[in-house]
């Protein structure tokens, strides 16, 4: 029987990293995600799997350590929270431009600025629209449970290497801090250097062997034609992700007349709101995007004809709602409810806001 352990979402990330064959973690402490590095340091995976764990001098350095590791074709990751991820945006742009796979976990807190250490979802735009400079995207996964925090580590690496692109787990302080039972998946060994050479020697800096051309990992292309081609390659990857790797969960959407769209901790709260509505005879459903990029635009499109309204519920001033509105394209009203400052609304509060919006 699979091993089940009670742990925090943040701890689940650390255990998942060790168990899925991650080669290196480089991070910098910041609330509310410090347990990730703390757990790794306590577990000392360098003694068992050989995974490297290092506390960097800043988030800027962490993300650039990830860049170095990713250049070598290694499975590398970092984690941080909002202000730290802002510092990482330079590196994320370079990673995307150089087509490097990696995992960045953002356990989001309230912003802007130093903000609050309470949960938030105000980094949605930063995560799905780029954040750093230039036209790039990342795979963005939004877990809503400790189990998903665990499972999305391996999934992120899989997608990151599939597309040679950075992947982000966009969690929030609630999912990071709450304790739940987590089923540990079977151990996956780290790839050996030989296996990495076999799989990635067409691009990774594994050492120039005689007969192979030198591998240079760079995002620089001063020739306009080449640079446009590089950008077109990136865009083609993003379109492919939109075709093949959209993930979402639907609750009671089959007969729904209204649908709430929510991710992360807000999706769990809204699940209770759906139950409340159903008890009152209101046909409310929940669409939970699991990938925020690629966004479930097609699924929203599919649902719109049967719906009277949609509502985006977020711990922000309204960010994902813009993507919902783009998908709905004016066909039905798209309402919004959000709380800021680290305040997490109750299911009742969401339900009241929902009723008020549809009766307007």
């Amino acid at each position: 029987m699979a091993e089940k352990i009670l742990m925090k979402g943040n701890e689940a990330i650390a255990h998942a990293a060790i168990r899925c064959g991650c080669d290196g973690y480089f991070g910098y402490p910041i609330t509310p995600q410090s347990e990730i590095m703390e757990t790794l340091m306590e577990e000392q995976p360098w003694e068992t799997t050989g995974m490297v764990v290092l506390q960097a001098e800043s988030e800027t350095s962490s993300i650039n350590m990830i860049y170095g590791g990713a250049c070598c074709g290694k499975k590398v990751m970092t984690s941080s929270s909002s202000p730290g991820v802002s510092l990482m945006c330079e590196g994320l742009s370079y990673l995307a431009g150089a087509e490097l796979p990696c995992l960045v976990v953002n356990v989001v807190r309230g912003g802007p600025g130093l903000g609050t250490i309470q949960p938030g979802q105000g980094d949605y735009f930063q995560a799905v629209k780029g954040g750093g400079h230039g036209d790039y995207k990342m795979v963005v996964l939004a877990p809503s449970s400790a189990q998903e925090m665990y499972d999305f580590v391996d999934l992120s690496f899989e997608l990151a290497f599939k597309y040679r692109t950075p992947a982000m787990i966009l969690a929030d302080g609630v999912v990071g801090q709450m304790m739940e039972t987590v089923e540990l998946r079977p151990m996956k060994p780290r790839l050996t250097n030989e296996q990495i050479i076999e799989k990635y020697s067409s691009w990774a800096t594994t050492g120039k062997t005689p007969g192979r051309k030198q591998n240079v990992v760079t995002s620089l292309a001063l020739d306009s034609i080449i640079h446009e081609q590089l950008n077109n390659t990136l865009q083609a990857k993003y379109r492919k992700m939109e075709e093949d790797d959209v993930r979402f969960e639907e609750i009671m959407c089959d007969d729904a007349e209204h649908v709430i769209v929510a991710y992360g901790c807000m999706a769990r709260i809204c699940e209770s709101t759906v139950e409340m509505a159903r008890k009152e005879g209101i046909k409310l459903g929940l669409l939970r995007p699991i990938t925020l990029f690629p966004f479930p635009t097609n699924e929203i499109n599919r649902l719109v004809p049967q719906l009277k309204t949609m509502m985006s519920v977020e711990l922000s001033a309204g960010q994902m709602v813009e993507d919902v509105r783009l998908a709905v394209n004016g066909r039905i009203p798209v309402n919004f409810f959000g709380r800021l400052g680290g305040i997490v609304p109750s299911p009742d509060e969401v339900f009241e806001a929902f009723k008020k919006a549809i009766n307007k």
């Binding site: 800027t60 350095s61 330079e90 050492g207 120039k208 990992v217």
Partner: protein, 253 residues
């Protein structure tokens, strides 16, 4: 003896190392970068470590170092090369990992990264080109620009009041326990270039011995930025740069 009798393969005593590609360098005539690239390539060749060496190139003129030294390269964001090299070396302890950085890259925007990589004693080699100016961006003031020196952003000369004094980062790094070898060299004449090559070789050997960070500063010229001919730039360097940046070993454990 006729020249043609001398120019025969068996008499060849110096030729381009195969670790250096045949691509013509984009550097200005007389630029120290080319000489230092060559010395690195020769050391890699002589140590037989082409397969085991990974370079990290900076932002600045030397961003294209990968076009000239035929090894695997990672191109880092401005100033971040020591962080990039840190992970590369830790994930590949058997490899030789070096960064190649200019003064703006290493001593200004990347000060935190170089300090902490050296303080952790990463087993990497750092080649630091100090020509007291930002070359590629068009000759602006660098942290190492001398007082009184005119640059694009100090058109009337650098003043201590406005910009502080030139940063002798090499001396600072020598203070850190993680560095095992800290030296300052130059490549303006044959003797100094040969010394620099020996320093680079020692730095690579230290890396294999796991002694800590080896740091080789090369006091260099930027004749375009300095608005001098290549030969005059070398003379100006000896006269003006050396008093502030004296050549020699600062630390050798």
């Amino acid at each position: 003896m006729d020249v043609n009798d001398i120019i025969k393969p068996e008499n060849m005593v110096y030729s381009k190392t195969p670790v250096l590609t045949s691509t013509t360098m984009h550097y200005c005539p007389g630029c120290s970068h080319g000489t230092v690239h060559k010395l690195i390539a020769e050391v890699i060749d002589e140590m037989g470590i082409q397969e085991k060496t990974i370079g990290v190139s900076p932002v600045g003129c030397a961003v294209f170092a990968y076009n000239y030294v035929d090894i695997d390269w990672q191109q880092a964001a401005h100033g971040r090369a020591p962080a990039v090299a840190t992970a590369t070396k830790r994930l590949h302890p058997e490899k030789y990992v070096f960064t190649y950085q200019g003064d703006g890259d290493l001593a200004s925007i990347g000060t935190a990264e170089i300090m902490h990589a050296c303080n952790r004693g990463e087993n990497i080699v750092v080649i630091f080109i100090n020509n007291a100016i930002y070359g590629m961006t068009g000759g602006q003031m660098a942290p190492t620009t001398l007082l009184g020196m005119k640059t694009a952003t100090t058109p009337y000369g650098r003043t201590k009041e406005l910009h502080g004094s030139p940063l002798r980062i090499t001396e600072l790094l020598a203070q850190l326990e993680g560095t095992c070898y800290v030296t300052r060299q130059s490549v303006h004449n044959a003797a100094s270039a040969r010394k620099t090559k020996r320093a680079i070789r020692k730095a690579f050997e230290n890396s294999a011995l796991g002694k800590g960070t080896s740091f080789v500063e090369v006091v260099s010229t930027c004749n375009s930025g300095w608005k001098l001919s290549p030969v005059k730039a070398n003379e100006w360097m000896v006269e003006n740069m050396f008093p502030k940046y004296p050549v020699g070993d600062i630390k050798d454990l």
